[in-house]
């Protein structure tokens, strides 16, 4: 009797506590709607402000998430896969019904700073307001001016595919209580203005940490492991702190070139979710990209003295920007494959499929990256290598950039794994990868999904 009473009492206490918790979260979750505005004429905005907003949108890579495949910029509808389900990006053109055309600047500011939409609903942190909250008032105004002067397009994103209870937006209030640290960027007095500009751009609009900082089980960035490497859409975002895996150490100049053009002869090619980032940075303000590069280089830090001679030797061994040794005329390329590269299936595939470009002696982007310098080969996971083997490197629109054929159609899973094992052993001094087979399976299923969606879009079974 007594014991039963205790259990009941405990149970009642729990219910009360739960009720309080729900009440607190509900109170935190509640925001009032902000009065809709009538659509404002585009000439209300100053051209300089719009230009500033365009630069910020490029640095923030807004169009990459807010554009569906083959869709118009900022119209939204891109499925963003998260560990919790699929979230669809929204229409941020100034369409009054389906976009942000009726959002006042105050509503826009609240979305960026606090992660709440005009109607007062919580926004999922797939929209990186944990970074955008760092933006200055002036930059928010500029972004608003830029977006409100885009062509309005009527289009609604499909509903998110999230399981209970995440499909209820108020739970985001709980997430924010635990992990969200709002507030504009506070300059670090220990550093100069240029460094602080870079830090402001990287941690604010650039939201680099959204991919390059690992996330915890609830999807929040682990601030204690700043830039220690994360993942995005099936790709590894490599560490960009002292643990950076590039054999030749990065510096501000190489980072600048890489971010600007999407590849660097001593490092490799920006692929996967990084490809659109560098494509956008190609059109951003030069000084800002330099600031970003200088700041990230400072986070990666000085190379350990022991590694410096090794990096210099490696760099000296390649000719990333010089004239290639082999002429480009037809017929000469095929002779570039070395006669003997080793034994085994992986070596044979390498000799027949890879060496023709990667050992051509031609400089990047006309020849392949020197694989001993490749971050994808030296990194902790085989994922990016496998993804690139599957998908190749498609030609960049209107830019001088490396291309690579895709091998997903011809290589079987076993052949892909053989090749990956061979490349890791031949070109790096790192430990063998353990999760090659899993990475191959994941890349195969991703490709199948992508093809099914293309086929479905064409009205095929």
């Amino acid at each position: 009797m007594n014991r039963r009473f205790t259990v009941l009492r405990l149970f009642a206490c729990l219910i009360v506590l739960l009720g309080i918790a729900i009440g607190v979260v509900a109170a935190l979750a509640w925001y009032s709607p902000i009065t809709p505005i009538d659509r404002m004429p585009a000439d209300r905005f100053d051209a300089r402000l719009i230009r500033q907003g365009a630069d910020l949108a490029a640095l923030g890579d807004c169009d990459t998430c807010h554009t569906a495949p083959n869709g118009r910029s900022f119209v939204g509808g891109l499925p963003v896969p998260t560990p919790f389900g699929t979230i669809y990006s929204t229409n941020i053109t100034p369409d009054p019904e389906t976009g942000i055309g009726r959002w006042s600047e105050a509503a826009f500011r609240r979305a960026l700073r606090q992660g709440v939409d005009r109607e007062g609903r919580q926004l999922y942190p797939a929209f990186p307001y944990d970074h955008f909250t760092r933006l200055t008032d002036d930059d928010v105004t500029a972004l608003y001016a830029y977006l409100m002067t885009r062509t309005p397009v009527r289009a609604s994103a499909p509903p998110n595919a999230l399981p209970f209870p995440l499909n209820h937006r108020f739970v985001v209030a709980g997430w924010k209580l635990l992990f969200f640290n709002p507030g504009t960027y506070r300059p670090d007095p220990a550093h100069d203005a240029a460094w602080n500009r870079g830090a402001y751009l990287v941690e604010g609009i650039g939201h680099c940490g959204a991919c390059h900082t690992p996330r915890n089980a609830l999807g929040a960035e682990k601030s204690s492991r700043f830039f220690a490497g994360g993942e995005a859409e099936g790709w590894t975002a490599f560490p960009i702190n002292a643990a950076a895996a590039s054999p030749v150490p990065w510096n501000a100049d190489s980072l600048y070139a890489y971010l600007r053009q999407g590849w660097h002869g001593l490092h490799g090619v920006a692929e996967g979710p990084m490809a659109p980032v560098s494509a956008d940075l190609a059109g951003a303000s030069d000084g800002d990209v330099r600031s970003i590069a200088a700041y990230v280089a400072s986070i990666i830090g000085e190379t350990a003295p022991a590694d410096r001679p090794e990096g210099r030797t490696l760099a000296a061994m390649t000719r990333p920007f010089g004239t290639g040794a082999k002429p480009q005329s037809a017929g000469s390329q095929a002779a570039a494959a070395p006669a003997v590269v080793g034994d085994g299936a992986g070596a044979t595939i390498y000799a027949g499929a890879c060496a023709g470009c990667h050992e051509s002696g031609r400089p990047v982007p006309y020849g392949g990256t020197d694989l001993s310098l490749s971050t994808a080969l030296n990194g902790s996971t085989p994922r990016n290598l496998i993804n690139i083997l599957f998908e190749g490197i498609p030609a960049a629109d209107g830019a001088r950039a490396p291309i690579m054929p895709d091998f997903g159609a011809v290589l079987t899973d076993t052949q892909l794994a053989d090749l990956a094992r061979f490349l890791r052993a031949k070109f790096t001094d790192k430990l063998a990868w353990t999760e090659i087979d899993a990475a191959v399976r994941q890349a195969r299923s991703r490709r199948a999904t992508a093809e099914a969606s293309t086929s479905a879009a064409a009205g095929n079974p």
Binding site: Q333, A334, I349, G352, A395, I403, A409, V410, E451, T454
Partner: protein, 161 residues
């Protein structure tokens, strides 16, 4: 020695396992439709099908192809009985110098086998890796649309799917 199945016939091939498929097709088997363009997998002229998927034969070592089905343009139709893709390219007069056309046709064939109702965007996207220096792109696109219609007429069940 390895066995290589091309256009339904299995051949014993005496070549190094890292020899590109393109060389074996042209030098060993006399199948000259697939062309050597760049030798780097960058122009598309060497495209053939392996198990119904378009691949660049200049960067595919034959060691990969044990137990696989290779199809070249010669395997689709003949002069007397051209396949729909060939008939469509003839009717649209889509070749000028013709060097890229065999590769274009094989890529289009693979696309239309997988996606009979391919849209214009699908076709443009699929043919992106192929270079044509004569500039017959618009005719090539028309020919692929025509081939799709011909294939649907040949195979109304699949075409209607």
């Amino acid at each position: 020695m390895m066995d290589l199945t091309v256009n339904g016939t299995t051949h014993a091939i005496d070549a190094d396992p890292d020899t590109p498929l393109l060389y074996v097709l042209r030098d060993h088997l006399g199948l000259n439709a697939a062309k050597f363009g760049c030798g780097l997998g960058q122009c598309g002229a060497c495209t053939v099908m392996v198990d119904d998927r378009a691949v660049l034969s200049c960067v595919v070592p034959i060691a990969l192809l044990a137990g696989r089905r290779v199809t070249t343009l010669e395997g689709l139709g003949t002069l007397d009985q051209p396949a729909p893709i060939q008939q469509a390219f003839i009717e649209e007069q889509a070749a000028q110098c013709g060097y890229c056309i065999a590769g274009m046709m094989m890529r289009a064939q693979a696309l239309l086998q997988a996606t009979p109702q391919a849209s214009d965007a699908d076709i443009r996207h699929a043919l992106e890796p192929h270079l044509c220096r004569c500039g017959t792109h618009m005719r090539i696109l028309k020919a692929v649309h025509r081939a799709a219609a011909l294939m649907r007429a040949h195979d109304p069940v699949r075409g209607a799917l």
